[in-house]
């Protein structure tokens, strides 16, 4: 049994290795548009942002099987593109992140911020919860079960704006 869990750990570890790609905003938008009934929980973070790193486990442990419709977590790093190999990939390996991780691939940071949400000041952490028909934006850090409760209420449709 012990042997099996070690094997599992090793496979999760190696799975995380190669999974960080660059992402443009239009690619992200297309992904959400094609997502049908999927609710995307998109967290904007950076390896250098301590409160972002602190809240990552809340995103990692979102219990997606609770919901009738799919929930997908996407971690979008605002680290510089040039730091993909030196900072982001080693971080993902070290923390064994199992969510999808991307690094933003946009030249114009301001345009990116505006398009994600016009109320975003640019502070991170920030989170966008997006489904085909709805977008909710949060410029804040989530504590403990707050994210779980929020996603639950949004996906179950009893969350009113």
């Amino acid at each position: 049994m012990k042997y099996v869990s070690i094997l599992l750990l090793v496979s999760t570890f190696s799975f995380a290795n190669a999974q960080v790609k660059l992402l443009t905003l239009s690619e992200l938008d297309k992904r959400v548009a094609k997502g049908k009934d999927t609710t995307y929980v998109i967290n904007f973070w950076a390896t250098w942002c301590a409160p972002c790193v602190a809240e990552l486990p809340n995103f990692e442990r979102l219990k997606k099987e609770y919901y009738k419709t799919p929930v997908k977590v996407i971690l979008v790093s605002m680290d510089f593109k040039s730091k993909l190999k030196s900072d982001v990939i080693p971080f993902v390996k070290k923390h064994r992140l199992k969510s999808e991780v991307y690094v933003v691939d946009e030249k114009d940071q301001q345009a990116f911020i505006e398009k994600v949400d016009k109320n975003w000041s640019g502070a991170i952490p920030a989170t966008l919860i997006a489904a085909r028909t709805r977008r909710l934006f949060f410029e804040k850090e989530f504590a403990n079960n707050e994210l779980e409760d929020l996603v639950k209420s949004i996906v179950h449709g009893d969350y009113k704006l």
Partner: protein
């Protein structure tokens, strides 16, 4: 809860508003107000901190702004936004240490209980407000980033703050009055939180 968050994003100064003066403790132990700068034509108020990597990346650029524009009438005044309990690296002692180490030639003030951070509407570090003296008071002329190249690698560098101040010095309105950039969220004081 959602409404509260939305409201927070909307508060603070907009371009054209008149900024309040403050009286805050500098790293040298003396209080600093805008009114202390008798010859100033305006101010470059930078909300920042000791610990944020983006703020750190801008430290030498903030120093250069002060060196260039204080003699022209636009001194830099830096204000630490962060609560020293939530973020011990941002304590007054650590502000003093940093200012000494890096030889800050500008004022670096503490803002206990985030009073002016909230009043101005700073949401991250660094977050810059350029003020210009008018008959009505200190008018907010620019809000946002210092430039568009945090990593100094941009091929089309735009020095937003310099350009804004240069316009003001020529008696013109800045061409670009507000910008956005990625920064560190403010480390707010936790109200009786025991997490």
């Amino acid at each position: 809860m959602m409404l509260g968050i939305m409201a927070k994003a909307q508060t603070g100064y907009q371009v054209g508003d008149i900024a309040t003066d403050f009286n805050l403790n500098n790293v040298d132990g003396k209080n600093v107000s805008l009114a202390n700068y008798k010859d100033a034509k305006g101010y470059i108020v930078v909300f920042t901190c000791n610990t944020c990597p983006v703020a750190k990346a801008y430290q030498s650029r903030v120093e250069a702004l002060h060196k260039e524009y204080a003699p022209k009438g636009y001194p830099v005044i830096a204000i630490n936004t962060n609560d020293p309990v939530t973020s011990p690296g941002d304590s007054y002692e650590n502000m003093q240490k940093l200012a000494k180490e890096k030889n800050f030639s500008y004022a670096y003030l503490e803002d206990p209980n985030h009073i002016y951070t909230k009043k101005f509407g700073a949401t991250k570090t660094p977050h810059t407000f350029v003020l210009t003296k008018t008959a009505k008071g200190n008018e907010v002329a620019y809000i946002g980033a210092i430039d568009n190249s945090q990593d100094l690698l941009s091929s089309n560098m735009n020095d937003f703050v310099k350009n804004a101040v240069n316009s003001l010095l020529q008696g013109k309105k800045p061409e670009i009055t507000s910008t956005k950039a990625i920064g560190c969220g403010i480390k707010w004081k936790k109200e009786g939180a025991t997490e």
